[in-house]
């Protein structure tokens, strides 16, 4: 399927992501920050679509925007936000912040300059009609072990959450 107006949409979604990301860290109200994060994640799923990865885009919407962010919002709303809104925003770790930001910027610049020569073996699957099937074949075939480890990790997290939240065993 031929792409439609790719540069325009890329810049649009990238701009939405950037604005959303900046809104996350600058809003005083934590609920507004969470909503801005949701906008960022939805724009990110659009970028996945543009990379011909519809499955990851769908999963991003279901899990991240529709599951994880809902839980974020639960916690934010149940905790009293009046106190946190009255607090002054502080930047006491600005040295470490600047070092980390510089390192990240250096990484981005390096990748941009080196360009495609970093990834010589890139495979760009243009056909998206069986993207889900290809992901499934790889996930349950070649990367089965990693899949199982990840699911074990999630199981440990669930058990930990239940144990911590129960009033009595």
């Amino acid at each position: 399927m031929a792409p439609v107006a790719t540069p325009f949409f890329f810049y649009l979604f990238a701009a939405i992501m950037l604005i959303g990301g900046i809104a996350v860290i600058t809003r005083k109200n934590p609920v507004h920050s969470a909503l801005a994060l949701i906008v960022t994640l939805l724009a990110q799923s659009s970028i996945y679509l543009m990379l011909y990865a519809p499955f990851v885009a769908g999963v991003q919407v279901i899990l991240y925007a529709g599951g994880i962010m809902v839980l974020f919002l639960f916690v934010i709303m149940l905790v009293s936000i009046d106190r946190s809104m009255k607090e002054r925003q502080f930047n006491s770790q600005w040295v470490v912040g600047i070092v980390a930001a510089t390192a990240l910027a250096g990484l981005f610049v390096t990748v941009y300059i080196k360009g495609t020569s970093i990834f010589p073996d890139r495979v760009l699957p243009i056909i998206e009609s069986d993207n889900t099937q290809k992901v499934a074949t790889m996930l349950y075939g070649q990367y089965m072990f990693a899949f199982e480890i990840a699911s074990l990790l999630l199981l440990v997290a669930i058990i930990g959450a239940v144990v911590m939240a129960k009033k009595r065993i």
């Binding site: 999963v59 925007a65 529709g66 639960f74 993207n131 099937q133």
Partner: protein, 426 residues
């Protein structure tokens, strides 16, 4: 100008692609407008049907005054809601209060892009059709949470959190049931299934069996799990604790009035139709007519293709019958004329649907809509019959009953499918 007409016509030449798949934006827009219009009419009809059917179950008549047999009642309600004062609580967060109903409505309406009314009658056919529908309908949870929080009041917040916890819990069970059905689509020669809605129905067509009957009773149990979860997902009886009036928590849309409230209401009915569409597509054969293999052949095709026209003619006959039964008092003259006119419109539609050229094209849409209408009737029936579940019992069912059942069905379906592959097609 000629280029535009050529563009429009080029889609009509491609026989078996949806407008989205064919890349034709004009027809995609036409289909979107058609679906939007049809959905709005369906929601209005659902409003009237719910009040009438619930009333008849409760040995009363329901709306009878506004228009003949209350047919204009939904329009009167809509006008009333539009004219109501738009109240916003003073301490409420204005932006969030304003966007919450928008998110719910957008999530409820966007899912209809992939709903297939026929093999080419969808706006587009995504590779991830079912995943897209589940994902976008899970975004409505965000709208509910935002609505409860933005009201800046204790009870709507608790109601919203409960509603959203309920919706999230039942999404898990829904997902497992959906996976069990998608598993059945992979029982073909290539060994790969599909998540695309049109592909799922075509898989049922190819395998010659609706998935509700496949590997009986596994398909039926998966369908049952989905049918229960979808009622809980849309916050309808018997799982409507969060919006019941006789409970302490007042529900997330308490502070909303007028048009904003009607948006929630619109979104609720659209979400009901959306999840019913998923159920119909996955288990009940989508747009396929009953018994496509058992009663095949041109005569049976003809018989079944007459159903849409005959249904509308029956509805028209009911209208005329009731118009004849109306009191002969001059005050009822307008209502009688109105009902007879409505009956004539329905009769005309029925006659049009009997034309051969129209019959063939409309069949698929009719069967799909009829099956979804069956689900809508079930929704109303549940509301009239069942008491309400308490919230902890609700969560118990979602996590401790439906989730293990879904897992068991999934494992059993996979095992039976594997056995079938090995034993019958080694």
């Amino acid at each position: 100008m000629g280029q535009i007409i050529q563009y429009i016509e080029s889609y009509l030449k491609t026989k078996d692609l949806t407008p989205g798949a064919a890349g034709n934006m004009f027809w995609a827009l036409v289909y979107i407008l058609l679906i939007f219009g049809g959905l709005s009419v369906a929601v209005i009809a659902m409003n009237w049907l719910e009040r009438k059917i619930l009333a008849h179950m409760q040995v009363r008549l329901g709306p009878m005054r506004v228009g003949p047999h209350g047919l204009l009642q939904p329009i009167a309600d809509a006008i009333k809601l539009l004219l109501k004062e738009d109240i916003m609580p003073t301490e409420a967060d204005r932006f969030v209060f304003w966007t919450a109903p928008l998110i719910v409505v957008m999530a409820a309406f966007t899912v209809f892009i992939v709903v297939p009314f026929g093999p080419t009658h969808a706006v587009t056919d995504m590779n991830i059709g079912v995943l897209f529908m589940l994902g976008v309908s899970s975004l409505s949870v965000l709208g509910v949470v935002m609505a409860g929080w933005a009201s800046n009041s204790h009870y709507p917040l608790i109601g919203a959190l409960r509603s959203s916890a309920q919706m999230v819990s039942y999404e898990v069970a829904m997902g497992l049931a959906v996976v069990a059905a998608v598993l059945m689509t992979s029982l073909n020669a290539e060994g790969t299934g599909t998540l695309s809605m049109i592909g799922i129905v075509q898989a049922q067509q190819a395998q010659g069996i609706w998935f509700i009957f496949k590997f009986f009773p596994l398909g039926a149990i998966a369908f049952f799990i989905f049918a229960v979860s979808m009622v809980a997902e849309t916050n309808r009886a018997p799982f409507d604790l969060a919006e019941a009036e006789s409970e302490l928590t007042a529900g997330f849309h308490t502070e909303y009035s007028g048009f904003r409230w009607s948006l929630f209401f619109l979104a609720e009915y659209s979400a009901m139709i959306a999840v019913s569409s998923i159920a119909v597509t996955l288990w009940l054969g989508g747009w396929l007519r009953p018994f496509p293999n058992l009663l095949s052949g041109p005569t049976w095709d003809l018989v079944f293709s007459l159903f849409p026209g005959i249904t509308f003619l029956l509805l028209a006959a009911m209208c005329f019958f009731n118009a004849a039964r109306m009191p002969k008092h001059p005050m009822f003259r307008i209502q009688t004329i109105g009902l007879a006119g409505f009956g004539m419109v329905l009769g005309l539609i029925g006659l049009v649907l009997l034309l051969p050229a129209v019959r063939v094209r409309v069949q698929d849409i009719f069967w799909f809509a009829a099956k979804v209408a069956g689900f809508m009737y079930l929704y109303i029936w549940y509301r009239g019959t069942f008491p309400r579940y308490r919230f902890d019992q609700l969560m118990h069912i979602g996590w401790k009953v439906l989730l293990p059942l879904g897992l068991a069905v999934l494992i059993l379906t996979a095992s039976v499918a594997l056995l079938q592959q090995r034993l019958w097609h080694p």
